[in-house]
Structures are given as structure tokens and as C-alpha cells.
Amino acid sequence: MYRVLRKRVLNPSVTWMDVEAPLVARKAKAGQFVILRVNETGERIPLTIADYDREKGSVTIIFQKVGGTTRLLDTLEEGDYILDFAGPLGRPTEIEGVGKVAVVGGGVGCAIAYPAAKAFYNSGAWVDMISGFRSRDLIILEDEMAAVSRRLFVMTDDGSNGSKGFVTDKLKELLEQGESYDLVFAVGPVPMMRAVSELTRQYGVKTVVSMNPIMIDGTGMCGGCRVTVGGEVKFACVDGPEFDGHKIDWDEAVKRLSQYRREEQNCRLFGQI
């Protein structure tokens, strides 16, 4: 049993939770995830580790209420318990050798972009962060992201915060201005990651995206999370979740997202925000 230490409402549909899980916290690194199950009849779902505190033995998860399981998770209050919480799973973000990086987050994907940005920032890299939301009311983690980047550009689809446009618009502007990044790191809804990858391909900038497909075990056992990368089948849970955005078979990835839509209950980290 894993106790909820702290709960914060980031926006009407996104929640922050610190969970007591000392063994996970001890090993956690940016880019990794946990598999959790709220209660006995609950589904096993993957959630990315948004932050961790090794001393307190806590792991932060940030989730959007998009399906049955995330809604159930959101009913827990501080002091309540999550039944199962296993991790850290997946490979950590590769931060070595990156001098200048643009970290791009879309919606609740910022919950994953944030720890990646933090890891790059703490390694001494120059971090430009671009985050996008549908409107001003949905902006999350603004202070946190500002603290781990040299420049933070927050974009809204409707312009309600004063900066209208998609993350790709801002990224294109920066690339056009001649910013030279060693890496673009993008995480958010699949169409957004695809658009970022297509844009950066034109500029020849290496791009890593974080896939968060359907999975049940997180240890390479089910193959439900398979992604075709450079013509090879990879399992996001053990080979990823981060892959070269220029090599992903995006058409397939988009279709696989709908796998259990018919059967629904399916809870996912990324929905449109």
C-alpha cells in the first residue's frame, strides 16, 4: 500500500499527487514511469514520474482525468492509499552530451516535459521550454517549468494568455531565428509529437519523443505497447518510452491509440487538454 502524501489540483482536470514509495524514489530518474493499480478491481496503468524526493521517499505523479482509472485515482485524498505502485520502469532520459535543448510539452504532457527539462537543466544544459495549452485556464506547472529553463514560452491555442499559437509555431520561429539545438525533446498528444517531429526533420534537428502507449505490465511481458521505430518493433516499456521522433511509424502509432476505445475504461495520460 502506498500512501498519498500530498494532493494538489493543478487545473480542473489535472491533479498532482506525491505518493510514498521509498524504493521507487530511491531509483527514479527523469523519463521513467510507474505502473499503478488503485484498488483490487482497478486497471493497471502507466504514469510517468513527474518528480521525486529521495529523502522523503516520495514520487510525484501528475494525471489528467480522462478515463475510469484516473477518475478513480482522483477520488483519493491525502492519507489514502494506492494499492499497487511498481517502478521505476523504462529507460531514463538520455541527457549526456546535450548542450542546448528545446523541451516541448503539450497539455498534461508538460508533466513529463518538466522532469526532463529539470534533468537537462541540472546537467548544465541550456534549456528553452515551450509549452502549449488550449487556453489560459488550463496552464499547469508554469512556475516549475520556469525554474528549470533559461526561457519559457507558454502558448495557448486561443491566445487567452497573450501568446496565441501552437507549440510548433513557436518552435518554428526559434529555429527560423537560427537557434541551434542539439536536441528537441517533445512530449504531449501523439498528433503534437508527430507535428514537432515533422517540423524538426526539415531543420535536421535530432528529436526525441516520449511515447505513452497502452501497457499492462511495464516489464516487456505483454507487447501491447509496441511501437515501430525505424522499421523495428520496440516495446515502449523496456526499450523506451523515449524514441527518435524521426523514426517512429506515426500512422501506426495514431491508430494503435484507439485500441480499446470500443471497450473503453481505457485511461491514458494524454488526452487533449
Partner: protein, 468 residues
């Protein structure tokens, strides 16, 4: 007692096929005491005990059968349990026809003694009626860590606990049992039975820690740092193989592991659980082993009108247990032999629409002794399906070998062990599917037992002079 000369096995009552295809309850009901005694009386109690030599865990078969004829059912159970820590499981899932029963003298003229059914009877009888608690074991103060709570790990834990070791099992999932829990369906092996078997190990002092992904949450080296003197790797063969044919990324194509885990571990077939699972109308299962039979029969129970098993060799080469093939046929599963998939077709939404196959013929025998299937050119044809479940085998999970420096594995990722089941790392032992690649429950148990003996020798040798 007079020998029962009946040439056939005493039939075991079963749910009727037309009834059971719409539920997940156990297919076979098991013998009554009367049936068991009738069947036990068929045993000739041969002096040379050929059946015992066919048992990977050396169950003293004629002894327990004799106790059944005498009506000492609990005694029969205790006899089995001396060498087999999971009798209720083995009685249900062992391929007896190629093990103990294959050696039975009664099988020469007629059917062999139904050893598996008798084992099951003794185990079920004991579990339902006995109030015995295992004797308090004297602990020897030495600690052993076991990775994985499947058949290999449980057998290893059981033997070590009996020898007085303090055993902790680390399980990656939220529930113990390994393949017994996530793989084999309820209708073949009720989970309550697995839980009771595991409970008995707990009563012997074995600790089980769930949600512990060794290689991630803790490494093998960290287990030694925590004071464990030996580690047993029984992490199984959990990495599913795919066909490597076009269309495998389509929606509706999945590994049997995924399909079965959703159903068995996550109980997706029950309304009160949240996990979704694919309900198909027409499903094709690729493969000819027990996993393929389980997947096909699950698909049927979830409401599929037509379920095909597509296998590239002929029926004679199928590795599945005879009983499973027989049950699957009774349940209306359609077998398509000598046929291999070459492509999966999809519709505009990326959903599976058909399986393209070629016909095969059998050529010369391969390394396994089975005749190699050879493609008949120009025999391509389509089978209309909405779901394809791939059950062509599993290989060992790479997490432990990736995170344990110095652990030798072979080309297929199987852990290499010596005659004591010790790996290339001192104090690290391994057994079961992690070593052999996908095999059977009972072979994994045999390996777990052998490793327990190896671990005992190793720790004794290390603490020589000191009393254990």
C-alpha cells in the same frame, strides 16, 4: 486389494461443452472419493516403478495411489507433498501423457492409470478437509532471495523453507503465482487453488513481496547488499514473440500474453473489474501450444462466434496437452493445420480485417525431430477475422540480464547455469523458463527444486564448520 481390470481410465465429470463455453468456471469437476478409489485400484504397484522415473519432481506415485485405495486421502496428499510443493496445480496442468502416465504399464493394453486425476483428487481432498498446519520449522538464520513467484520460484522456496532457510520471494506483479496467475485461465486452473497453494508456503514462513521488479526497483547486487546469501532467478520467459509479418501493428493484433494477462491476472472477463479486453466475433490464434489453446478457449468464452487455431504443422506435432486439444475441439474451436500466416490485412481504421495465410507441407525432420513445414508456393488465401492472437512462444525477459553484470546468457537470452543450477555469478542460481526458454510448469518446478538443493550445498560449503 483386488486390481481393477477396467482398461479405460475412470471418467472424470466435466461441465458440458455447450455450457462451459459461456463461463470461466473449471471445466473438470474432479473425482469423488469413490471414483478415485476405483481408479486407484487400477494401479499394479509395479516393483520397478516406471511412473516415478517419468516425474520431473520424483513423486512416489505408487505409494500415494496405494494410500488412496486404503482410504487414507490425507496420507496420499502428504506423500505427494514430500517432493512436490504444488500438488493441486500439477494434477491439473502437467502433461501427464508424456511423463508419468507415458510410463505406466497399464498403458500398454488400454489407458494408463489416471495419475494426474488422482493427484488432483488427493490435493483437493486435503485442501477441503484438512485442518493441519505445517509444523513450525526451525530456521537456520540464512537468507535466500527468490526472483519470481512462478512454479520455479515457488518450488525452490518450498524446499528451502523446509530446510530452514528464511526465504523472500520478489514478484513484479501485484499478485504472486507467475504463469499460474497471469497465464493459465481460471477454467483450467482456478486461482483460488493457486492462492491456497501459495498460502501454504506462507504458513511455512516464506515471505512474498509484490510490486518488486528486480532489475528496476532493486538489482541482484542490491539483494546481496541487503544480506541475502544466495539469489535464485526464476523470472520465467515472459517476452512474447511476434510473427514479424506485415500488419502486426494493426489494432486487434496482440500477444497471447497480453490477452491472457488481461483476462487472468486483471480479471477482464468479470464485470466488476475495470480492465478492458477485446471481444471479437472471429478470432485467429496463431500457434499450437497450451498457450494457444488457452487463448482460443478464452476468446470463445468472451463471445467470439468463430475461433480458429492456425498452426503451421499438423495435429501430430502440436505441443499442447492432449486434454486441452480435446477440450478445445469439444468447445467448437476450429483447427486449421499446415497453414502459416504471411500478412495481416486491415481496414481504413487500422482494424484487423483478414489473415493472409499459405499452406504448408511437412518436409524433413528438423533439430527438434519434428518434420519441418515447407511453404506450398502460390497457396495464399485469406481468412476473415477481426482479431489475431499471437501465441508462438516466449523468450526470457531481459530486465535481469541487462542489470546484472557478469551474468552469462546464451544467444536466446537464456541464463546459463552449471550442474548445480548456479549461474556465472557466484551465489546466483537460476532455473525454469529463464534458463530453458518456455517449457512446462512441472519442468520449472523440477529446476526450482534442483536449484534449492544447489543453494543449500553452496551456503553450507560457505559456512563450513558453522552449524546450519
Amino acid at each position: 486389494m483386488a486390481i481393477n481390470r477396467q482398461n479405460q481410465k475412470t471418467p472424470m465429470p466435466e461441465q458440458r461443452p455447450e455450457e462451459r463455453v459461456s463461463n470461466f468456471e473449471e471445466v473438470a469437476h474432479g473425482y469423488t472419493a469413490e471414483m478415485a478409489q476405483n481408479e486407484a485400484a487400477r494401479c499394479l504397484d509395479c516393483k520397478h516403478r516406471p511412473c516415478v522415473s517419468g516425474c520431473p519432481v520424483n513423486v512416489q506415485i505408487p505409494d500415494f495411489i496405494k494410500l488412496i485405495t486404503e482410504g487414507d486421502f490425507e496420507g496420499a496428499y502428504r506423500t505427494i507433498r514430500q517432493t512436490n510443493s504444488l500438488p493441486a496445480v500439477c494434477g491439473r496442468v502437467c502433461p501427464q501423457e508424456v511423463q508419468c502416465e507415458a510410463k505406466c504399464v497399464r498403458g500398454i493394453k488400454g489407458e494408463p492409470v489416471a495419475i494426474g486425476r488422482l493427484e488432483r483428487f488427493a490435493a483437493d481432498y486435503y485442501m477441503n478437509s484438512s485442518t493441519e498446519k505445517p509444523d513450525a520449522l526451525r530456521q537456520n538464520g540464512h537468507r535466500v532471495a527468490i526472483i519470481g513467484s512462478g512454479p520455479a520460484g515457488l518450488a525452490c522456496a518450498g524446499d528451502l523453507a523446509k530446510l530452514g532457510y528464511e526465504v523472500t520471494i520478489f514478484e513484479a506483479f501485484h499478485a504472486p503465482g507467475g504463469v499460474l496467475t497471469y497465464g493459465i485461465p481460471e477454467f483450467r486452473l482456478p486461482k483460488a487453488i493457486v492462492e491456497r497453494e501459495i498460502e501454504m508456503l506462507r504458513e511455512m514462513g516464506v515471505r512474498i513481496e509484490t510490486n518488486m521488479v528486480i532489475g528496476k526497483t532493486l538489482s541482484v547486487d542490491e539483494l546481496f547488499e541487503q544480506g541475502f546469501e544466495a539469489v535464485f532467478i526464476g523470472s520465467g520467459a515472459g517476452l512474447p514473440g511476434f510473427l514479424g509479418i506485415p500488419g502486426e501493428g494493426l489494432v486487434g493484433v496482440m500477444s497471447a500474453n497480453e490477452f491472457l494477462t488481461r483476462i487472468n491476472l486483471m480479471k477482464a472477463y468479470r464485470d466488476d473489474y475495470d480492465t478492458p479486453v477485446r471481444h471479437s466475433k472471429r478470432a485467429a490464434v496463431i500457434g499450437g501450444g497450451n498457450v494457444a489453446m488457452d487463448a482460443a478457449r478464452c476468446a470463445k468464452r468472451l463471445g467470439a462466434e468463430t475461433v480458429y487455431v492456425v498452426y503451421r504443422r499438423s495435429e501430430a506435432e502440436m505441443p499442447a496437452r492432449l486434454e486441452e486439444i480435446h477440450h478445445a475441439k469439444e468447445e467448437g474451436i476450429e483447427f486449421i493445420f499446415l497453414t502459416a500466416p504471411v500478412k495481416i490485412h486491415g481496414d481504413e481504421d487500422g482494424q484487423v480485417s483478414a489473415l493472409e495465410c499459405v499452406r504448408m507441407e511437412l518436409g524433413e525432420p528438423d533439430q527438434t525431430g519434428r518434420r519441418r513445414p515447407v511453404e506450398i508456393e502460390g497457396s495464399n488465401h485469406l481468412i476473415e477475422v477481426d482479431t489475431v492472437i499471437v501465441a508462438i512462444g516466449n523468450t526470457p525477459n531481459p530486465l535481469i540480464r541487462m542489470t546484472t553484470p557478469g551474468l552469462k546468457t546464451d544467444r536466446k537470452g537464456c541464463v546459463v547455469v552449471d550442474e548445480n543450477m548456479m549461474t556465472s555469478r557466484e551465489g546466483v542460481f537460476a532455473g525454469g523458463d529463464a534458463v530453458t526458454g518456455a517449457a512446462t510448469v512441472i519442468l520449472a518446478m523440477g529446476a526450482g527444486k534442483k536449484a534449492a538443493a544447489g543453494i543449500d550445498r553452496y551456503i553450507r560449503a560457505k559456512s563450513e564448520g558453522k552449524e546450519i
